[in-house]
Amino acid sequence: MKYAGEFRDPALAKAMLATIEKQVADYPGVITLMEVCGTHTMSIYQHGIRNLLPKQIRLISGPGCPVCVTPIEYVDKAVAYARQADVVIATFGDMVRVPGSSSSLLREQASGAQIKIVYSPLDAVALAEKNPEKIVIFLGVGFETTAPTIAGSIVEAKKRGLKNYFVLCAHKTMPTPMAALTSDPELQVDGYICPAHVSAVIGAEAYKPLAEQFKVPCVVTGFEPLDMLRGVQMLVQQVLDGRAEVENEYQRIVKPQGNAKAQALLADVFELCDTGWRGIGMIPGSGLRIRDEFAEFDAEKQIPVEVEEPKEHEGCLCGEILKGKVTPKDCPLFRTACTPENPVGACMVSSEGTCAAEYKYGTD
């Protein structure tokens, strides 16, 4: 695995760990770093990074799993669509287990709904083209990494003249919630491990206002273990130096200005909107909605559906976890009532969710 395998080299990892240990050897306090991207959360657990780091470094997880932060109303709406006879729900595999107020897509599939897990939104477009008698609704969930691929699918559907391809859109954008979080006086974050692939689209410079306004160090960091260790090392160095800059560990992918074509695609198809984050609440200007020019592909505008009253699950600490205030083990439901096969809250449903990652990979 070229460009992945090299970044898992054990000897190099040990050298970087030693570098970090040396860095903080005399540091008396604790440096709290937040990874906002769920893929980072996964990677930390998967490679067992947390227990390799010196005790002065504390990693906490932020709201970066797009499935986890999707409001329950969205899941309920997807379920309601799934129940319509001619509708096929096309989705990435991540969404199908997410519990809505009273059901999930997997549960609806068991009752006869047509749920098709695809690898790419273009596969959903092909599905619509192949089944003109069906209504294909793709679940548009994800950050700036994924949103352009859905935008691309809409452009493609338009090009092919499809009348039966729709997107149920709940895309979110990244730096905005970080600013919202940082302005929470309870939250003490000494530095941000900034998302790898979101940044490939939006560019490293996108975090500049955050770094400058809140005086918080930001390092765009890749997902491989070496990347993560180096990102931590760079953040620690900023903290030790008293700097608060945007640095880019992941220069092999992420450019300062990001991917202009992907950004143009996003801007063509979507526009910013206010949106709710599960566990956090409404964050102005943090979502994407389909522009009027593409309203013919907007499921919500084209296909009426009645949705049940949303009902959040009780006792779940997801909101606090998404803000990085508590960890899964602080939740009384963790591992007892709430498990990956029967998730209570959003953080347990996606394999990227903080609770799911802790459940699957946590060692104590």
């Binding site: 898992r8 990892a13 040990k14 769920g38 067992g48 595999g93 897990i117 994924t146 699957k360 060692t363």
Partner: protein
């Protein structure tokens, strides 16, 4: 059907039914596909059995067919008995099909208990409309797999379900094994200090099937690892006897789930070494595209052997000398008595827990 194991009917003897109405020209006449009537129990059923299924699988004359097969000359007071149904989609995939899978799977379950596989039953559930050519291919693979494993298919059953009420072909195989020794190979016998061995690479079967499934559009040369392991087990037991504590084939749920089962049954902690896991580059590549963890992907020609540490290197050497074990590796240790945790030391030296597969592994992009 019934067969005397000591007196197998000569393969030359043709099906011995009444008149010429039973012969092949009729089967060929208008059945390129399975019809509902082939499951009626009547003449079409008999034709299908006499023309295709029995000659392919067992060559037992119709006049020897009874409600049950009779096995004679049993000289063991202990028997192993196992069953599995096979429901894979697609039924034919790179390196094999549902037929050899069904034989190998049941042979392996018998072998994992330390038994010598003796006889296998075959229950077919065919979907109306199944192409006879596909059925023939599956049956031929079953026969070849049984021959290779040196186990006899002695009894069977065929049902047909209406189109849309099945999925081409489901196969149940059940198996009887006898014991040539007094060893007890059980899932609760892992002991601290034991080594965990596997006979080759991980995840090939599951990824071969997934990659050949419609819609994912992956191209690769990943083939199933489906294989009978009884000969390998025989050699391991002959050589290492009671030093072999646990044998289990990591099928559905993969290596992770199987080790978690063993850890719970034996009430021990297990620690894997990520760097020691034999995973082919291609399987790793396919897994990375789909976001899957090969530890949870099914294998059909692999066994996990938990063996006394003192004999582990010798057992590894033996495995590697066998056709079924060329890629064998020691992948971890049983570390201590506990409540049954499985951990893995990662390549960079970290530690992570291994749980059972939660639901199904789904292709994901998160």
């Amino acid at each position: 059907m019934g067969v005397m194991l000591d007196n197998p009917p000569s393969p030359q003897s043709p099906p011995s039914r009444g008149g010429e109405v039973f012969f092949a020209k009729e089967l060929k006449l208008n059945t390129d596909v399975i019809l509902l009537g082939h499951g009626s129990g009547g003449k079409l059923s008999h034709q299908l059995l006499d023309e295709l299924i029995i000659p392919t699988l067992s060559q037992v004359a119709q006049s020897d067919q009874n409600d049950a097969a009779i096995l004679e000359g049993i000289d063991s007071t202990r028997l192993a008995f196992t069953t599995d149904s096979y429901v894979v989609d697609p039924i034919i995939f790179p390196g094999g099909n549902i037929g050899d899978l069904a034989i190998n799977g049941t042979v392996n379950d018998l072998a994992m208990s330390g038994a010598r596989p003796l006889a296998i039953s075959v229950g077919l559930i065919l979907e109306e409309g199944l192409a006879l050519a596909e059925l023939r291919e599956v049956l031929q693979a079953m026969k070849a797999a049984a021959d290779k494993a040196q186990v006899k298919i002695v009894t069977g059953d065929t049902k047909v379900v209406p189109r849309g009420k099945g999925d081409k072909i489901f196969i149940n195989t059940s198996g009887i094994g006898v014991f040539d020794h007094d060893l007890k190979i059980l899932g609760n016998a892992a002991k601290p200090g034991d080594k965990i061995l596997i006979n080759g690479s991980i995840g090939d079967h599951g990824m071969a099937v997934l990659a050949s499934r419609e819609g994912l559009d992956l191209q690769s040369d990943i083939a199933t690892d489906s294989m009978a392991l009884n000969h390998l087990v025989t050699k391991l037991l002959a050589e290492f006897g009671e030093n072999v504590h646990v044998l289990r084939d990591p099928t559905r749920g993969g290596v992770a789930t199987t080790l978690k089962e063993i850890a719970l049954q034996s009430q021990v902690d297990i620690c894997l070494q990520e760097t020691e896991l034999p995973i082919t580059q291609t399987v790793a590549g396919a897994c990375s595209i789909l976001g899957l963890d090969p530890l949870f992907v099914a294998n059909e020609g692999k066994l996990l052997a938990i063996i006394d540490a003192e004999k582990a290197d010798a057992a590894l050497a033996l495995m590697r000398s066998q056709p079924e074990g060329g890629g064998a590796a020691i992948i971890g240790d049983v570390v201590e008595k506990s409540s049954g945790r499985v951990m893995m030391q990662t390549a960079i030296g970290g530690m992570r827990a291994i749980e059972m597969l939660a639901g199904e592994q789904l292709p994901r992009i998160c």
